[in-house]
């Protein structure tokens, strides 16, 4: 029984989890022996389990950016479906953009989290091959973004807060997507979400792939799971451009500073949501629970504010991002001389201000 309780890390070990895998195989060997030969190895097993916990702590507190990307893409990582099942009561999906179609890469619907009514907008990558193909591996098309906005407008009308769960490698790069205005669909979402008159909470639960993530990622609060990532470009894409070599993704991941810690430091993420020991995929229930608690707490906080104050704060927050990454150089000597000379000429009245009367076109 003890074995079953701490059944963490069965299969799907990542390359940097060798020691974890070793301990797991030792534990299962001892378990097998005790059942076959009837010898009690429980003390040894407990010791191994304690060592494994320590090992998890050691590895996961020092993940590199590239390792984080691998955890975020882990095939067993909880997807939108698990969050909807475990966290949202009476979920009812609302389909379609009322214009072109229904994009399964973005799922919208009504429901409750805790006691709060919410509109959920989430990206789904799909678990098995069939589902993956159906939802295009989580790469939305324009109709997905337009559906998201249509449902958010519906929520706005009935004063229902919006929660978005972000998990996409990026918006789909396809001929149809371009023909139907992928860029325009995302752009309109950014503009409209910045002034939607209900609270919006955005949470990156896995992959935050560029504009495709941002397209449902503008709101009052932005949180990111501990081992999720959020980036302007995929590490592979960045490597292909800068190193002209897609296999340099590891270096690109480091350079892009895409981990939750860095995003918090840069002021992009307001909060980091802790993941269970060894990553969300080792304990889906705890991961979802942490997200649920964050949403309940944050909703309570946001709902206390008047909507005008909320929007003002939202704008201030968006407006401030990156301002600290700019600075003013002092004018160099020649530039200064030109400036002084110009102001002297203007003062002397040698230059007349330009006419503002319209001229015939």
């Amino acid at each position: 029984m003890a074995h079953k309780k701490v059944n963490i890390g069965k299969g799907d070990y990542l390359a940097f989890e060798d020691t974890i895998a070793d301990i797991d195989s030792q534990i299962s060997e001892l378990t097998r022996l005790s059942s076959v030969k009837g010898i009690d190895y429980s003390a040894e097993i407990q010791k191994l389990q304690r060592r494994q916990v320590a090992e998890f702590g050691r590895i996961y507190s020092n993940l590199t950016a590239w390792q984080t990307v691998q955890v975020a893409r882990h095939p067993k990582r909880p997807l939108l479906g698990e969050y909807l099942n475990l966290m949202v009561k009476d979920f009812r999906q609302l389909h379609g953009d009322r214009c072109f179609g229904d994009d399964a890469a973005i799922v919208c619907g009504t429901g409750h989290i805790g006691r709060e009514k919410v509109l959920i907008v989430g990206q789904n990558k799909g678990r098995d091959t069939k589902e993956k193909i159906k939802c295009n591996f989580g790469c939305p098309n324009p109709e997905g973004y337009r559906k998201a906005l249509a449902k958010m407008k519906f929520a706005e009308k009935f004063n229902i807060p919006v929660v978005t769960l972000i998990d996409t490698p990026g918006a789909y790069p396809g001929i149809g997507a371009e023909e139907r205005g992928q860029a325009q669909a995302i752009a309109v979402n950014l503009m409209e979400m910045s002034r939607l008159r209900v609270p919006i909470i955005c949470i990156v639960i896995g992959e935050g792939g560029s504009g495709g993530a941002l397209g449902i990622g503008v709101g009052d609060k932005m949180a990111i799971l501990e081992y999720a990532y959020y980036s302007v470009i995929s590490p592979e894409g960045c490597a292909a451009i800068l190193w002209r070599d897609g296999t340099k993704a590891q270096e690109a991941a480091e350079a892009l500073k895409l981990t939750s810690k860095e995003l918090h430091r840069l002021g992009i993420a307001d909060a980091i949501i802790a993941e269970p020991l060894g990553g969300a995929h080792r304990n889906t229930h705890d991961a979802v629970y942490n997200v649920e608690q964050y949403i309940i707490r944050t909703l309570r906080e946001l709902k206390r504010m008047s909507i005008d104050n909320l929007l003002e704060d939202r704008y201030k927050k968006l407006r401030a991002i990156g301002t600290a990454s700019t600075m003013m150089l002092p004018l160099d000597d020649t530039e200064k001389k030109i400036e002084i000379a110009a102001s002297k000429i203007i003062e002397a009245g040698q230059i007349k201000p330009i006419s503002t009367t319209p001229v015939e076109v």
């Binding site: 396809g174 997507a177 950014l190 800068l242 840069l266 991002i321 990454s325 006419s355 001229v359 076109v361």
Partner: protein
Amino acid sequence: MIKTMAKKAKASWDGFSLKPRRQMPEGLWIKCPGCEKLLFKKAVTDNQDICPECNYHFRIGAADRIKYLVDEGSFEQYLTQMVTTDPLNFHFRGTTYKERAKASEKVSAGKEAILVGKAFIKGRPVMLAVMDFNYLGGSMGAVVGEKLCVAIEKAIVESLPLVVVSSTGGARMHEGVVSLAQMAKTSAALAKLDDHGGLFISVLTDPTTGGVTASFAMLGDVIIAEPGALIGFAGARTIYETIKVELPKGFQRAEFLLEHGFVDMIVHRKELRSEIARLIDYCGKNQT
């Protein structure tokens, strides 16, 4: 089969690249990519960088753009000294982002990929922002976002029409998510302008792609494109590598976007001034 196709696609690849494309090589004569005729270079530059034979619009930087667009000497620039702090301390292949930025300054019109300021177009005052492809591929980082937001806010305060000329490869990788967030930041500022009833004319020139297209460039009250300009979200190469299907002729060109309903009009470079002036008059702003 696929391999040879890929090779072919690479050879005929004419999309966005971070490497500055030398469309205007040194020397007296240039070959027009449109009609392939050999042209006297001065005849082209005297013609606003348009082929006199076939109207091919050459890609131009911010300095030429401003020269062709605004009333002579009327551009009063703001924030010329604003530069990036390099928030990620980005380095790659033995070089740094700061070094690349510095090198870009030698060929660009200013110290960043956008120039903002007040100008007059046919006597009408406008708040103008012009992106410069010569500076790191016209990419949007924190400085581009900040300068554009200042321009938008000034347009609101001074009740001026906003004209933004885009020429860009998209978000600037070297600033990571900070640059991605500029998409949201500029779009939010444009929502404010919209709430105030301000006019925003977005001019898409060759090339306008990626995160800029997916934010402010597509949010104009009126969207104008230059003939033949490359406009899109994903790079054609990325699309080709994803779907492995030959891209249709004229894909992601201004005419393609017009056909699919994403630009209001295609305007010849020489007509741009009068079209913008006409729109400003039509929308009734700043009539004293």
